[in-house]
Amino acid sequence: MDSNQDISKVLQAAVVQAAESGQQLCLRGGNSKGFYGRELTGEPFDLSKHQGIVNYEPTELVVTARGGTPLSEIEAVLAAQHQMLPFEPPHFSDQSTIGGAIASGLSGPRRPWFGAPRDLLLGIKLLDGRGQILNFGGQVMKNVAGYDLSRPMAGALGTLGILLEVSIKVLPLPPQETTLLFEADTENAHAITQSLRLDAAPISGSCHMDRQLHIRLECDETRVLLLRNRFGGEMVEDADMFWRALRDQQFAFFQTDAPLWRLSMPPAADFHLPGKQLTEWGGALRWFKGDHPMETIRSAVSTTGGHATLFRNGDRSGEIFHPLNPTIALLHRRLKQVFDPKFIFNPGRLYPE
């Protein structure tokens, strides 16, 4: 069966009807990230049938796909041309879609060096809360005509509209990747990562957990041997599985019913609350489990210039995302009104409305 189909007219009609009746919709692609964000409300609204790659020209470094296209399909098509989605999106299930990957704004281990969805999103076709189909951005790398209304859709969790199509910058797959493993406590792990970063080593992933530091490097073994002579570490065989498991949160660390915090902070920041920690992104992302009141965690992270998200578990009706300054919160409400004046899309998924 050819799954490639454009059902934008069907979706548009349904949105127009929902807007008229005030029916709130819970947007759903592959339904793999329902755990993320504030609790789901509204009628489930399936977007997964709107799928297919619309345009892909490897030498233009851009792929355009319908929001419901499975990530696995896009990645396979890109891989056949030795290219990749540079933000290495997590696949929380086999059904994960490109629309969901962009809407969640989440990235994998490659993020600090290759960018997040917001960095790579070049253009969108959006179905807004009035049922209008709108185009922002485009299929070219550089575009400053009008306000950039594409990038803010990355991470908006569908609260501003439905991503009918997304155009994304792609990059060549690294010809070779090698992983080094170091035995290191937190302090040493930090020192090793910093030295490699400042040395302009071609890092494409870092993970520190249980005194083990894995560093993925985009280079062949000859260069890795040179780096190893200076920085130490052991070469890891078949590390692909490791990085995929990290990306998709398959490690035992993530298998928990306890609150799992996602802490985003400056890479060199100190964070000393007692608990279990897994550090990625050269220090800029810390996964944290610890029995502390929300306020304690938030204020410890805020002082570093970062922010804390209750990523999994805990009270999903509470403040999942870091509270906003009142002026910024007001701007959020006004932008919501611009795109979704009837408040039908994913009500309250980001912040209470």
Binding site: E57, P58, T59, E60, G105, R111, G115, R118, D119, D128, L134, N135, G138, Q139, V140, M141, K142, N143, V144, A145, G146, Y147, D148, L149, R151, A154, G155, A156, L171, P172, P175, Q194, R197, L198, A200, C219, T222, R223, S264, M265, P266, P267, A269, A284, G305, G306, H307, T309, F321, L324, T327, L331, H332, R334, L335, Q337, V338, F339, L350, Y351
Partner: protein
């Protein structure tokens, strides 16, 4: 008529006096500029064809003064145009006749270079190149490098989402910012982004970047810094046909190589640059490609060899590799001075900034050549070939009556062609006032209405840089009436995207 303009001038003098009195109460004397002869330097930015003397110029020394200015303007409904170094090429900082020109030039301190976190906290008036200069002793640099980087300020870079020759590999301004603090029209101070790689809620930092001073005034920026690559080399390749040069770019990318910079210059622009800089460019070539590769010693050695092979296979008549840092700089100097170089061979030039899918390059250049004959104006082309950003430079003489208008029509037609082939009217210079009519060619009414609504979400009274970047629907209706002759769009032979 004479009486009316005298009245107008009297009214402006009175308004100017009122504003000067008000601002002198809240700002130091040197921060308030209101004498005719002192206002003139602010009448235009880098697009000197458009000029307007502002009512008053304010040069605050700190953020709290910026807040006080915006609060006053908000209360009294006075338009405010923010200005950085004034190097913009689209008239984005063109003053408003009845407004304040707010220069951020005195907020010019580098507050901190943070090596462990690889970032720098700077004020908006800091020059782009000064950031890299300050970071160098830490082994770091700021990647986006617009050609005007010696002079342009980071605040302006944020407002325009400035690019440069290294964008393909290292991204635009939006990809190299961590945090921006700005003052809203109400005088509120807000910080978007943060010290980490993302921030909670909607990505307003992305929205703010490139918003051309329409949504807020930037007062502080935290930029990302990168380690200086161990090695960088430039390859210069000459081609007998522009098309072959364009195809070579596609082959380089198809081979999995992302150069740090990849630039194409056509014969007219490379001749002009050679006459000016003496970079050793082959003046007989139809086009040259400059391809920079950076990274570790080994990486660069390997990729330089592959790129050279690709260029030769793609029909390059000559391939040169920079032998040392001085020669690398020299190869770039010609390209970076292309605009002023063209300025030397023509009394005036008009710089366009379309982006096109790279595969359309040969066709677009052919059409531009046809237009050049039809308008009887020469046109030099420089092209950020890696990312499809084309800068046609239309040569004209403003002293010949009607020639500027002709150049503008020529430019407008080029931009509409860029849209028609699936590209955009501006890749990195911004819409400003210059390309406001072409916005009508790029966006239908529904999108434009959303833009106006977004503007109103930040600035309900339309006081920040009013009249720029986003055309009114009625302006587009007039523009449409003018451009669609007998129901025919321009370029009817092209498939529409």
């Amino acid at each position: 008529m004479q009486g009316q303009s005298d009245n107008n001038s009297l009214r402006r003098q009175r308004q100017r006096r009122t504003l000067a009195d008000a601002f002198l109460k809240m700002l130091p004397t040197e921060a308030v500029i209101f004498r005719d002869e002192e206002l003139v330097p602010y009448e235009c930015d880098g697009l000197s064809a458009y000029r307007q003397v502002p009512l008053i110029v304010l040069l605050p020394y700190d953020t709290s003064q910026v807040q006080a200015i915006l609060r006053y303007c908000h209360t009294n409904k006075i338009p405010v145009v923010a200005r950085g170094a004034g190097t913009g090429l689209s008239g984005g900082a063109l003053p408003h006749e009845d407004g304040v020109l707010l220069s951020l030039a005195r907020l010019n301190k580098i507050l901190e270079v943070d090596q462990p976190n690889m970032c720098a906290r700077v004020q908006p008036g800091v020059r782009n190149l000064a950031i890299s200069d300050a970071a160098r002793s830490h082994g770091l640099y700021y990647a986006p490098d617009p050609s005007s980087q010696i002079a342009c300020s980071i605040g302006g870079n944020v407002a325009e989402n400035a690019g440069g020759v290294h964008c393909l590999k290292y991204g635009l301004t939006v990809n190299n910012l961590l945090e921006v603090t700005l003052i809203t029209i109400d005088g509120d101070r807000i910080t978007l982004g943060g010290g980490g790689l993302d921030s909670p809620g909607l990505d307003l930092l992305a929205l703010m970047t490139g918003s051309e001073g329409m949504l807020g005034v930037v007062v502080e920026v935290l930029v990302k810094l990168l380690p200086i690559p161990t090695k960088a080399q430039v390859i210069l390749a000459a081609f007998d046909e522009v098309e072959a040069a364009g195809n070579a770019v596609a082959v380089i990318i198809a081979n999995g190589i992302i150069p740090a910079g990849l630039e194409l210059m056509d014969n007219l622009s490379l001749r002009a640059a050679e006459a000016f800089i003496h970079a050793g460019y082959p003046v007989e070539a139809a086009a040259i490609l400059l391809c920079e590769l950076d990274g570790s010693e080994d990486e660069v050695t390997v990729s330089v060899a592959s790129v050279c092979a690709i260029l030769k296979q793609s029909g390059a008549s000559e391939v040169r590799i920079s032998r040392d840092e001085a020669e690398r700089q020299l190869f770039w100097a010609g390209r970076k001075a292309a605009f002023p170089a063209v300025g030397r061979i023509s009394p005036d030039y008009y710089c366009m900034d379309g982006t096109i899918p790279r595969k359309q390059l040969a066709m677009v250049l052919k059409k531009i050549a046809e237009m050049s004959e039809r308008y009887d104006l020469r046109c030099a082309n420089v092209f950020h070939a890696g990312d499809g950003n084309l800068h046609p430079l239309i040569l004209y003489d403003a002293n010949i009556p009607g020639e500027l208008e002709k150049a503008e029509r020529f430019g407008g037609e080029i931009l509409e062609l860029c849209v028609a082939v699936g590209g955009t009217i501006t890749g990195e210079h911004g819409v400003g006032l210059e390309k406001i009519d072409q916005m009508c060619a790029q966006f239908p009414d529904a999108e434009l209405e959303i833009f106006h609504a977004v503007k109103a979400a930040f600035d309900p009274d339309n006081l920040l840089n009013p009249g720029k970047a986003i055309p009114t629907l009625s302006r587009c209706a007039e523009f449409g009436a003018m451009h669609v002759h007998a129901g025919q769009l321009r370029f009817p032979e092209l498939e529409r995207f």
